[in-house]
């Protein structure tokens, strides 16, 4: 009949051929391949310092008749190391979840048992189907002064280990990152970017438990981030962007009063609005265009004092001002 045998990496393993005597003549195979007699001690198979590659099916056959006398499946593995446990409330005030994993694989099956104790009460942490190694708990009471104590025990055929987390209700609150982050240029504003986002969908009650946000942005060409903390609203306009540079922007969320910041959202890229490039013209043409637009005010001839040449000198500024007022007055008359 068939067995499963679990052994530690590095152990010495002795396999007996079922009920056969020590001096019986037998042949051992590993995954169908004959094993050399040097590994035998009588009818016992000796495997020294086993490693993972030696896992497999071992069979023992009686010498002459080739009757199968014994078969076992050897699984080489390790006892569990201390598991890594994390508990978090991303849906406050509904409850929290805990998830865990082993820091190194054991190569053999493990079973996990989680216990949650709140004061004197033992609570049931309901296991999630997906992902595995996760369970969730609903809060029955809010604003508790008593800590929660979560103990995770991992057991396999070679040993067991455990870890414990003790925390206050408030300490584990950490929302999921904001969703649907969008960054858009603002037309006719070369230094602005408009960023909008939404509350994470896992946060059940933003009305009573509002979130605050942290925005960070930088041009791709620089390493230094700029930060803005926003106490409400899901919209912000960056007003100091470098013109024409592509930006990378991220947002994080936190309950207004308790817990820690979420991870950063997915990064979005945006470049501020830039003016459409003009046709290349000579200096003379530009001057003419400027004078032409000034004269469209239907101003009296005196405004010619305020041509391009006169404006440069500061002495002419006062003259310009009065002329400007006259222009304005005339323009109003003509509207």
């Amino acid at each position: 009949d068939s067995h499963i045998q679990y052994e530690r990496v590095g152990a010495d393993v002795t396999m007996k051929c079922g009920s056969m005597d020590w001096d019986a003549a037998v042949t051992w195979t590993a995954n169908g391949t004959d094993i050399d007699e040097s590994h035998l001690n009588g009818s016992y198979l000796i495997l020294k310092n086993v490693d993972l590659s030696q896992s497999g099916q071992y069979s023992c056959y009686e010498g002459s008749s080739w009757h199968l006398k014994y078969q076992t499946y050897l699984r080489v593995g390790t006892p569990p190391k201390e598991p890594v446990l994390m508990c978090r409330s991303n849906n406050y005030p509904k409850g929290f979840y805990c998830s865990w994993h082993l820091p190194t694989p054991t190569y053999i099956p493990n079973s996990f048992n989680i216990s949650v104790i709140h004061g004197t009460k033992e609570m049931v942490c309901e296991k999630d189907a997906i992902p595995k190694n996760r369970c969730h708990i609903r809060y029955l009471q809010l604003f508790s002064t008593v800590k929660y104590k979560v103990t995770l025990t991992v057991t396999n055929a070679l040993g067991k280990n455990f870890t414990t987390l003790t925390f206050d209700e408030f300490a584990i609150v950490k929302p999921d990152p904001p969703e649907s982050v969008v960054a858009k240029p603002v037309p006719n504003n070369p230094r602005r970017l408009e960023v909008s986002w939404q509350n994470p969908s896992s946060w059940p009650d933003p009305e009573s438990f509002p979130l605050k946000f942290f925005l960070r942005y930088r041009p791709l060409i620089l390493d230094q981030w700029q930060h803005v903390e926003l106490s409400d609203g899901t919209l912000h306009t960056i007003t100091d962007a470098y013109a024409g540079k592509e930006y990378i922007i991220q947002v994080a969320a936190k309950d207004n009063d308790i817990g820690t910041w979420s991870d950063w959202s997915v990064a979005v890229h945006a470049t501020p609005w830039t003016e459409e490039p003009k046709h290349l013209t000579t200096e003379a043409q530009i001057t003419e265009t400027t004078s032409a637009s000034t004269s469209s005010f239907m101003a009296p001839p005196t405004t010619k004092i305020c041509d391009k040449g006169a404006m440069v000198g500061s002495g002419a500024v006062a003259v310009c001002w009065t002329a400007g007022l006259v222009v304005a007055a005339y323009s109003v008359l003509f509207i």
Partner: protein, 222 residues
Amino acid sequence: SPTGDSWGIFTFLCAALCNLPALPALNCSEELGAGQSIQQTYDLTRYLEHQLRTLAGTYLNYLGPPFNEPDFNPPRLARAERVPSATVDLDLWRGLTDNARLAANYRAYSRLLCYLRVLDGQVGTAELRHRLTHFCASLQGLVLSIGGVMSSLGYPLPAGPAGPPAPPGTPAAPNDFLKKMDDFWLLKELQTWLWRSAKDFNRLKKKVPPAVITLRLEAKGF
């Protein structure tokens, strides 16, 4: 007879100290002027929470181990029940009327203030006394602030912490360790209440317009 035992003295002290906040409140409500909105009350709770962190750290160190150990998680003894608890069933909390919500806060802080004042009188070091006195003054401000919101909304103020703050028959701590446990739980409840109040006032902010009748606060030491 109450005079003989220490419990009686405690009750008397508390009753005497606790009747103090009532007087300035009366004076204040007559002077309608600058505003005490829910927002300001909310801000006060955040400020107090911040202050408490420093105060609690200092105080727990003064108490010494195991009280100042971060993992210290003692079971709640029955005697600790006299300190008002912020813990509440989730659906119940959601369903509280504005009046009930405010009243719960008002009652809790009035009593907590009371206990803290007794503590202030007993504490050893000058630094701690100074911190506690300052904190008590701020906490009194919070009580007045909540009272102000209630008055302006037309809700009656809950009866002050008249009578013994604890059910009669609860003895004063018979030994040093249990006394320290009492202090530990007092600070913990205070901390939890301040967290809860932030959420309570968030909810109130949404339901009640921000600009309600305002009071000028001139409470002593605030």
